[in-house]
Symmetry: C3
Subunit: 322 residues, 3 copies
Amino acid sequence: MKQFISVNDVSNINTLVEKALAYKADPYKDRTLGADKRIGLLFLNPSLRTRLSTQVAAGNLGMEAIVFNVDKEGWALEFEEGAIMSGSSVEHIKDAAPILGSYFDILCIRTFPSLKNREDDYSELYISQFIKYCGVPVISLESATLHPLQSLTDIVTIKEVLSGNAAIKSKPKIVLTWAPHVKALPQCVANSFAQWINAWGEAEFVITHPEDYELSEAFTRGATITTNQDEALKDADFVYVKNWSTFKDYGKIYENDPRWMLTDAKLQLTNNAKVMHCLPVRRNVELSDEILDGPNSIVTQQAGNRVWAAQAVISEILVSSK
Amino acid sequence: MKQFISVNDVSNINTLVEKALAYKADPYKDRTLGADKRIGLLFLNPSLRTRLSTQVAAGNLGMEAIVFNVDKEGWALEFEEGAIMSGSSVEHIKDAAPILGSYFDILCIRTFPSLKNREDDYSELYISQFIKYCGVPVISLESATLHPLQSLTDIVTIKEVLSGNAAIKSKPKIVLTWAPHVKALPQCVANSFAQWINAWGEAEFVITHPEDYELSEAFTRGATITTNQDEALKDADFVYVKNWSTFKDYGKIYENDPRWMLTDAKLQLTNNAKVMHCLPVRRNVELSDEILDGPNSIVTQQAGNRVWAAQAVISEILVSSK
Amino acid sequence: MKQFISVNDVSNINTLVEKALAYKADPYKDRTLGADKRIGLLFLNPSLRTRLSTQVAAGNLGMEAIVFNVDKEGWALEFEEGAIMSGSSVEHIKDAAPILGSYFDILCIRTFPSLKNREDDYSELYISQFIKYCGVPVISLESATLHPLQSLTDIVTIKEVLSGNAAIKSKPKIVLTWAPHVKALPQCVANSFAQWINAWGEAEFVITHPEDYELSEAFTRGATITTNQDEALKDADFVYVKNWSTFKDYGKIYENDPRWMLTDAKLQLTNNAKVMHCLPVRRNVELSDEILDGPNSIVTQQAGNRVWAAQAVISEILVSSK
C-alpha cells in the first residue's frame, strides 16, 4: 500500500481486516517493523480517538510518533496554487509539505471540510496538495470527504461480531441511518462507510435519511436508499448511526426531526441489531442513553478497534516502503 | 495501589515516601517495570510541573507516556448523567473514558474546580466519572478538591530535610499559612496537604488563615487552627505557604491583607523554618523575593521531588496491576 | 560546547558544519550518545521546522525529547527581577527555570521579541534569565535577536552546495537581501546570518536593503552594505532572501516596495545564484513562485538540513556534559 486515503488504496479489504484482527490478538508481533522510522501526525483539526489510536498503533510497531497540531502549534497554511500570500496564511503547503516529508517516513494528516463550498471540499484540495508535495506515503486521519481509518475499523468490528455470532445470517443487513444533531457536520464518515461497505460487497446495505440529505452517489452507488427509517431498520443486523449535513444544498441543516434518533422501540424492528457510531456522539440527540448504555451498543468495542485498523495500515505501508 | 486520588489510597505513607527517595537515589532501577505499558496524561487544565514530572517519572520506568490536552487538542466533555447534549459539550465521559481505558494501562487526569458551586466541586464529579467508566487505574494530577501527588511530594521533601538536619525536633512543627493572591484559587493544595499531614501523624500541625478562610473539616480535623499567624509561626520547623479562596461562602476573596505575606521578619518567629510552596507562586504577593531567594526556601528541591513522588505512585500501580 | 545561543559559543564553525554533514550521511551513528538523557523543548512562540527538526535530531541521538508549549499548555512567565506579580504573569522564571533544569539535561527555548522596545529585546532578557537560572545547557530555538540553529544550517547548506559545484569560486559571493512582507518581523534571522557569515569569513558578504532598514552593526560589521539591490546581486553565488522590520526606529515597516521581491529577472544579474530562505515564506510577497518552484531555489534542502545542524549541536553539548 502506497497511501491510505480511501478504499481505492486497498487491494483486498478482507486481508487488511484479518491483519488488524491479528494485531488485536498480538499487538507486539511486529514490534521492530518500524524501527528507525518516524511517523508524523499532523492535525489541522481536533481529534481524540484518531490521534491516540494512531499514536498507540505506531508505538506497537516500534515507530516514533510525533504529533503536531498545525493549527495550534504552528500557523495557517495556504493551499491555493499561485496565491499572493498577503493575507493570514503564513506558509504554503508547497513549502511545508516537502520539508515534513524530509523529517518523516510516513505522514498522517487530518483536515476537515469548510462546509462552505461543496466543490472545494469535494476536490480534496488540502490532502491532495499534501500528497502531491510531501514525497512520502500519506495516511488520512479524516479528510474533507472521507474517513477511511474509521471505515476500516467499522468492517473490522462487523467481522469480529459476525465471527462470534451464529445468529446473524452470512450476508448481514447493514443499515446506515441519519440522526439529528445540533451542528452542521461533514459527510465524511457516512461517505466513507458507504464507500467501504459497497466495495466490501458482503452485506445487504441500506441507507436511510430524511429528504434533502442524499449523499453523493459516488459513494452510495450500490446501496438501497430510502427515507423510510422504519422500513430500513427491518431485520437489520447492524445499525450505523450518524449525522451529516446536506450534500446537495451544501452544508445545511434542513429537517432535524428528533424522531430520527434511534431508540429501543425502533431497535425492536431489527434483528436484535448491533448499534455502531464513530463517536463523539451527542447523547440523547443523536443516540439515546438507553441504546448507548444497553446491550446492543458496540461503540466502545468499535472505538477500541481503531488501534488495530491503524496498526494494519501503517504496517502495510512500512512493508511496501521497504 | 489500585488508584491514587487521595491519601486514602495509600496503605503506608512512610513506605511510599521511602520508595520515592529510593528512586531519587537511583532513577533507573526499575527501568523495565513499565515495558509495553502506556500511561495517558489527560489535561482539562494547564500544568507545568505536574505534567513534566509525571512524564519524566513514567519514562524512568520504561513506560510510554502520551500527553493529551483534552481542552485544547480535543473538545468539551460532558459529565452529567442523562444530559441531553444539545449544548457545547461534544462527548460524554461515559463514551470517552472506556475508550481511553482501552488505549492506556494507566490514566492520569487533571481537572480543576469551577469555584462556582461548592457542592458540585466537592462531589468530585469529573474524576469520579473518569474512574467509574475508564476501567483502568487512575492517578489524580489534581482534582477539584485535592492534589495528592503534590502532598506526597511535600512529605518526601519534609522527610528528606529531617533526615539531614539534627537541629529539628523529631516531631517537627509544620505550619500551613494562607497567603494573599490576586485570583480566587482552589482549596486543593491546602486540603490535600492537611489531609496528608494529618494522616501521616508525625508532626505538630498548625493551620493559620484570616477569618472566613476556614477549610473543610473533612481535611483539617486533627490540626490546630488559628487566625493569629504570628502565634502559629512560633517555633515552626516548616512553613507551607499557599493561597486559597473561601470554602464557606464558596470561591470568594474576602480579606486580602498583604501583611499575611511571609517575610524575613516573620521568619524570625520560627525555628529557622524551611519555607515550602507548591508553585507557581506570585512573587511579592504570596511570598517575598527575600524568602524565595533566601536560604530557607526549599521550593526548588520540593518541585524537583515531584518526579520521585510520581515515579513511586506509578510504580506501585504497575506492581499492583501485574 | 556549554550552550548554543550565538556563534560566539562555537569554537570552530567548519568543524561543527562537518559534524552536521556527517550526521546527514549517517543519522544513527551516535544513537546511544543521549541514552538516559532528556531534552526539553520549550516554546513561548509557535514553531514548525525548528520544533520538529530538533525533536528528530534528539531522537537520532537516543534522547527522549519532551515538547512543552509554555504559552498554550502552561501560563505566562515573568522575567523582570523584583516584579510584584499582581498582574497576568503566573510564574517567575526564577522559580520555573531551576525546576525545568532539574527535570532535563538540556533545555531548548524559543522566545520571540516584542518588537515594542528595542532595548528590552536586544538585552535578550528572556533567554538570559533562562540560562542564568536553569542550571543546565541551553540551546536557542530562536531568541529575541538571533536564530543560531538556522544560521548553522545555512552554512551547512552553503558548504554542501559548494562541495558539489565546481562552477562557484572558492570564496563565494553571498548576498543577504531584504524582501517585502505584510507583517513587522524580527531581525533575528538576518542578524544571525550576518553574524555567522562574518565569523565564518570564507565568503564575500553583501547585505542589501531599502533605506531605514539598517541592521545592528554588532552583527553586520565586516559586510558590504548597500541600498542598491541590483548592484548587490551582481555575480552573487547565493542570495539569502529575508524580511525584517526596522532596527533604528524600532519594529516598524517603512518602505515596502514590491520591487524588492526577488524575481527571475533579477536572478539574471547573479552567477546563477542559489536562492535561500529560512521559511516560512510569503509566496509572491517575499519571494515569487517562479523562484521558489524553479531550479535555483534550495529552500527545501536548507530546511531539511535543520535536523543535522540541531543534531550536531546537541551532540556537542552532550559530549561536553560528560
